[in-house]
């Protein structure tokens, strides 16, 4: 735990020391704000629909989800492996799991902040007398954060595989894209078994049918937690395996 906290703090600080985090935040805040106004207009003033669109019902949300996490995580292990900092961390009295979890936690926190402007929008709308449903708002944000956690873990996995950050980001984007468009691709096969299999691992569906409805279903929480834990476990194992190469 001590090691996790130390690395978590370092990574979070490290993100904000560089220009990438500020650039991503600026662009995402601008896009979120612009799109929220657009969603509000297109929904005829229904704030709940606008919140749902901003936090998972629109393709723009998933486009950000596919692109931003790999950009955040691409350097976290691959770059440090190249510069030797990973050697420093892995010879410190902290476990490999603490190193991975610290980095993962920092990236997920950053994305949680990235999705948080909806609370500001809700406050502003509340001041105008049209508050969105709290369940939808909090559930949507929590679902977005949990989905971000899964995508961040995938980004860390690809960052562990290669020592080239750009390649790690590219592989991460491809994997994320595959997850997002898997339901559409499964439709092409028109085989019940494939459709059922994909439905069970459909990230979009699990986010939309629970969190965005303002319902906190533990099975849906467990879905994201389990997949994220599995990918993180693989990342830790891969990190250990690097020592044997």
């Amino acid at each position: 735990m001590r090691g996790f906290l130390a690395i978590y703090r370092r990574e979070l600080a490290g993100l904000f020391y560089g220009p990438l985090a500020w650039t991503l935040l600026s662009l995402a805040f601008f896009a979120n704000g612009y799109l929220f106004v657009f969603f509000l207009k297109s929904s005829g003033g229904d704030v709940d629909i606008a919140v749902r669109l901003a936090l998972g019902q629109s393709w723009t949300f998933w486009a950000l989800m596919v692109l931003v996490p790999p950009l955040l995580t691409m350097r976290m292990i691959s770059e440090e492996s190249r510069t030797g900092i990973l050697e420093f961390l892995l010879t410190s009295p902290v476990s490999d799991a603490s190193v991975v979890l610290g980095k993962f936690g920092a990236a997920t926190t950053f994305l949680a902040v990235l999705w948080s402007p909806v609370f500001v929008y809700a406050l502003v709308l509340g001041g105008l007398g049209v508050s969105p449903d709290t369940g939808v708002l909090v559930g949507g944000w929590l679902g977005a954060t949990m989905a971000s956690a899964l995508f961040c873990s995938i980004g860390l996995l690809t960052s562990t595989i290669t020592n080239t950050p750009v390649l790690a980001a590219f592989a991460g984007v491809l994997l994320n894209l595959a997850i997002v468009i898997a339901p559409q691709l499964a439709g092409l096969f028109d085989r019940p078994i494939v459709l059922e299999a994909v439905r069970r691992i459909d990230v979009l569906d699990h986010h939309r049918n629970s969190f965005l409805l303002g319902v906190l279903d533990t099975s849906y929480v467990a879905f994201f937690a389990a997949w994220t834990a599995l990918v993180l476990f693989l990342t830790v194992r891969l990190l250990e395996a690097r020592r044997w190469k």
Binding site: T83, G84, P93, S95
Partner: protein
Amino acid sequence: MISVSHLTRRFGDFTAVDDVTFHVEKGEVVGFLGPNGAGKTTTLRILAGYLPATGGDAKVAGFDVLRQSMEVRRRIGYLPESVPLYREHRVIEMLQFQARLHGLARDVTKRRIGEVLEKVGLVDRQRDLVGHLSRGLKQRAGLAVALLPDPEVLILDEPTSGLDPLQRIEVRNLISTLSTRHTVLLSSHILSEIEATCPRVIILHKGKVAADGLQSSLVHGPGHVSHVRLEAVVGADAAAAIALLRSIRGVRDVVDRGRLGIHHQFDVVCDEDLREDVGALAAARKWALRELSWRRPTLEQIFARIALGTRDEVVPPASAAGANPTAVSRSPATTTATGASTSTTNVPNGAGAERAPAPTAGASLPISSAPAPKKIVYNLNPFDMGAARDLGKPKAVDGPTPTAAEKRAEESAGG
């Protein structure tokens, strides 16, 4: 403090560390010496807990580096060659991060940061970004980070690599001060660093321990003899001079290295510096002296013999190229250079001396009548191209390019 037994590490088919065994006692400063690729870094990484060993055991402070890795990591300060520090952090932030990794209490952290900054001389630069530090200062910052938890064992991989001579001296002095408090294991392929810093040396070659011991015992080991070099006019009867030299108390042998013009050169093999006795003999016999020097084998020469597999005598480039042309022309194929060896550190080698028999007085030519010696260039760094290069074959270079006027003169003479 450090116990390594039959340590082996393979990378696929390549064996980087091959059955290495050594022990380091508490408070020792041990230098790991070896050319690039000898297995130094791999051994240090295994000890630091970064790499697992393929076979054998390694223990630090009684804890197994693989099975009790956390215990080992708490007790070591490891500074890899690349000096891994976050460029975007200030020096003090890097130290605070290290303190958090080691779980140091706040008051201890504050005290230790002050102590290590003082020790490495970075008190004034603690607010500087690591990325803005020079290579030498960065090295010092890396040392401060490694020292922060006050480790029992300090493992430094090439701590002076990439530094300029002044920075090297600074880091070397710093390491010397650390030896009072920590067990230090440091690696280098720069022999002078090890010679200056580490009383005990472990020479690695192709993954194996080629030599292990105190510098003094290594340089005085079997086959490594010291001698007095005498160059004097002794007349035609060199055998009589040799007999006289042999009669000096303490002389083990006298090697006749042949005649150089009117002078004769002898190596008086002995364990102690007998220059005064030899000089007194020369004065008594009225021998005109040109050289009387005390020569001892250096670690560098021993290392070169191990690393390059050569048993040949080391001839300094200066004497080989200019001052002593006949010595070079006598046996150029048996000469080699081993870095910054000076004329006072050469050592006679039995094999080399045998392969370069002294010419008889009649056979040696006066310098003036000898053909102009070909300029020979010796590479002063024997490690830059690996041991595969045949250092026994000196590289000849052309003389100065003829001027246009000389060319015209040659053409007109030819035409």
